[in-house]
């Protein structure tokens, strides 16, 4: 076995938005060394594209870039999630292992497979590897609880920033506060410090000077990786915020964990209910977040949002099926939807232009509608 040859395990994992913070917390609290990959850059993407199969979807390519950069920094154990399909993600790990092996790296890849998987199998596996560290069940539970609380804080942080960014008076203020708080959450070591952090977040954001200008509300739906990873979606949340749009996402890390890693009886009920909204358009589970994307568009329209942006990586199978349903959904629920397909050739300027055009259209629509209302009253 590989881990007999090396003394210290240096764990790494792929990036997906802020997920590195809770993951790092778990492993570090179990006494393992963690080397998170450097943040995604042009280089990450180029490495990924160079060594991945041409027609694989973008997340696989970025993962490869992450892994290469982390292995270069000295990591030797990769933690990756598996799956049972039909989305390609379930077979990512196998392909990535082959690619990295061919590149001559010396590493071990731990792929966590559902349904036996879940968190405890991961920890069991990690426990076997690091048999020097005698972690008791209590330690493990403590580590997970801390990570979970951090994940909740991160989601709250995102939500708060979505609210203030479009109405901040000095541009960039929200980002400054956001990054400062992110660093703080990353540095928390003990659970005691976490409980009053919630109020700290709210307080920090309330210190930002805001105007009372009217915003429009846009929902973001689509494939989880493209929604959560700002490098891939070209900072869509920030860009929309700067355009005066209040953003809302369909998926947060904690929701995903609740819906996918918890046993069936603990799963949130409203999720299944929400999926039923997609029934007339997409009648069954189609893998990935395909059905959910459609359901969320309906949901956003019911909540009174002004528009929805649908994100997917190029050739993503479930989202293509979802895309075929969107024109009908959009018509039936009178909500504009823009689909953005992301791949390694996406460029920020063109993307910005599309976002501007989309928001302009929404604003114009609103104006016309309001105008009509005023006139009808007279």
């Amino acid at each position: 076995m590989f881990w007999k040859d090396v003394d210290i395990l240096k764990i790494t994992f792929p990036h997906m938005g802020n997920i590195y913070i809770p993951l790092k917390t778990i492993f570090e609290n179990l006494g393992l060394e963690v080397i998170p990959p450097p943040f995604c850059t042009r280089r990450t993407l180029e490495l990924g594209v160079a060594y991945s199969p041409e027609f694989a979807c973008l997340p696989l390519k970025i993962n490869i870039g992450n892994f290469i950069e982390a292995l270069e920094k000295g990591a030797n154990t990769i933690i990756m999630a598996g799956g049972i399909g039909p989305c390609r993600f379930g077979y990512y790990g196998e392909v990535q292992r082959e690619i990295l092996k061919d590149l001559g790296f010396n590493f071990e890849m731990i792929i966590l497979e559902p349904p036996q998987g879940h968190f405890f199998e991961l920890l069991n596996k990690v426990k076997c590897i690091s048999n020097k560290k005698n972690n008791s069940v209590k330690d493990i539970v403590r580590a997970i609880r801390l990570a979970w609380k951090k994940a909740l804080l991160l989601d709250q942080l995102d939500m708060e920033s979505f609210k203030t960014r479009p109405i901040e008076i000095t541009r960039g203020q929200t980002d400054k506060v956001y990054n400062w708080l992110l660093q703080q959450i990353n540095d928390i070591r003990h659970e005691d410090n976490i409980d009053n952090f919630k109020t700290k977040i709210i307080k920090a954001f309330s210190n930002i000077r805001i105007s009372d200008k009217a915003t429009i509300k846009v929902g973001i739906v689509g494939e989880i990786y493209t929604v959560l990873e700002p490098f891939v979606n070209l900072n869509i949340e920030k860009q929309l915020g700067e355009l005066g749009v209040e953003v809302s996402r369909n998926i947060y890390i904690t929701d995903w964990v609740r819906e996918n890693l918890l046993p069936a009886f603990l799963k949130p009920k409203d999720h299944t209910k929400m999926l039923q909204l997609a029934q007339p358009f997409i009648n069954c589970f189609i893998g990935g977040h395909g059905q959910e994307s459609v359901a969320q568009i309906v949901n956003f329209s019911k909540k009174g949002f002004d528009g929805v942006i649908h994100l997917l990586p190029f050739t993503c199978m479930p989202e293509i099926v979802a895309k075929s349903a969107i024109p009908r959904v959009s018509q039936q629920y009178c909500i504009p939807v823009m689909t953005v397909i992301l791949d390694e050739h996406s460029a920020e300027t063109g993307f910005r232009t599309r976002l501007e055009a989309f928001t302009d259209m929404i604003c114009h629509n609103k104006e016309v509608n309001d105008f009509a209302k005023v006139h009808s009253r007279n």
């Binding site: 694989a56 189609i286 395909g290 199978m317 099926v321 075929s324």
Partner: protein, 333 residues
């Protein structure tokens, strides 16, 4: 009632079953025309742009059937083997059709889902029977009759080594393709790819026709018995959850190990999710452990036949050249 079946996707695998099943329940089965330019054009117009070529062509076939039939049979094929799926696009196919094609006649979208076990096939046939308003006894009779034909069809594929095209078109003259034993001097090619791509003469740009014309012996994964495919997949570190991908990779491993072939052609459609990974795994395997030439053909609606021919010819030249060099190697150095 006239039931229309599009001549695309799983037509190449389940048509004998569907035909006999519907006919023994007293319905007429009507097929769409073989794929042609018109169908492709309609398919591209109707279908969402990001879908792969076979899905687009399926849309065209459905459009071709409209007006000619009372109902179109578009099953939702979730899974045909336990613990495996086909592909998300198959799962959502009836939805895609409903969302993209206006003024559809009524469609039958019975779900075929054997994910939780093969016995679920009865759920499927009874649901079909319910949609057609027939009682269970008659459904069972029709099912066993259809099953017999399907078994016979599979026997013809794996034992007589015929290809679905010939059996389904009822070509009289039997063309044995897999002549591995009988004509040892011929070049033997393993033709990998999804059945709805390689057997559709239009999509694959006559690949099979062209191979036959060049007198190349070929074998496809449809001609391999399941046992051998499973033997091939044993080499995988994780079981594959796509039925078609598993078939492809299993066949590849099986023949690579036995060294019975001179070359491999892998046909994939542009944007095919499973094949983007399966193709890569096969290619890596061949590069690492074997010295067999590998040709990967990616098809979409823009593929030009001339370029396709050039690549195929070049590949066959390589295979021929290798045979020639090995045979005539000078003993004097």
């Amino acid at each position: 009632m006239k039931i229309g079946i599009p001549r695309a996707l799983f037509y190449y695998q389940f048509y004998p079953f569907w035909k006999i099943f519907f006919e023994s329940l007293g319905h007429n089965v009507i097929l769409s025309s073989p794929t042609n330019k018109e169908i492709l054009k309609k398919g591209i117009e109707l279908c969402v742009d990001d879908a792969c070529l076979p899905i687009k062509i399926f849309h065209g076939h459905v459009a071709d059937l409209m007006g000619k039939v009372d109902t179109i049979y578009i099953p939702r094929i979730v899974s045909i083997e336990p613990k495996e799926y086909i592909c998300p696009k198959f799962l959502g196919l009836p939805d895609m059709i409903r969302n993209s094609i206006p003024d559809l006649p009524c469609i039958m979208d019975t779900e075929l889902n054997l994910y939780r076990g093969k016995s679920k096939i009865f759920d499927y046939v009874f649901k079909l029977g319910k949609d057609l308003n027939v009682n269970k006894n008659r459904v069972l009779v029709a099912y066993y009759k259809a099953l017999k034909t399907q078994k016979q069809f599979e026997y013809q594929l794996t034992r007589e080594l015929r290809i679905p095209q010939d059996i389904l078109n009822e070509t009289r003259q039997i063309q044995k393709d897999q002549v591995l034993e009988k004509k040892p001097s011929h070049i033997k090619v393993l033709l990998l790819g999804h059945n709805y791509n390689i057997y559709d003469d239009f999509i694959s740009m006559g690949l099979i026709r062209k191979l036959r014309k060049q007198n190349i012996a070929f074998i496809t994964s449809e001609m391999v018995v399941k046992k051998n495919i499973l033997e091939g997949t044993k080499k995988l570190s994780k079981d594959m959850f796509w039925t078609l991908g598993k078939k492809t990779i299993g066949t590849a491993h099986y023949f690579l190990d036995r060294k019975k072939i001179d070359g491999i052609i892998h046909v994939a459609s542009f944007g095919c999710g499973p094949d983007s990974l399966v193709g890569e795994l096969i290619e890596k395997k061949i590069k690492r452990d074997y010295t067999i030439p590998f040709l990967s053909l990616n098809l979409d609606e823009h593929a030009g036949e001339t370029g396709f021919n050039t690549r195929l010819e070049a590949f066959l030249d390589v295979l021929e050249g290798r045979g020639y060099i090995e045979d005539n190697f000078s003993t004097y150095g």
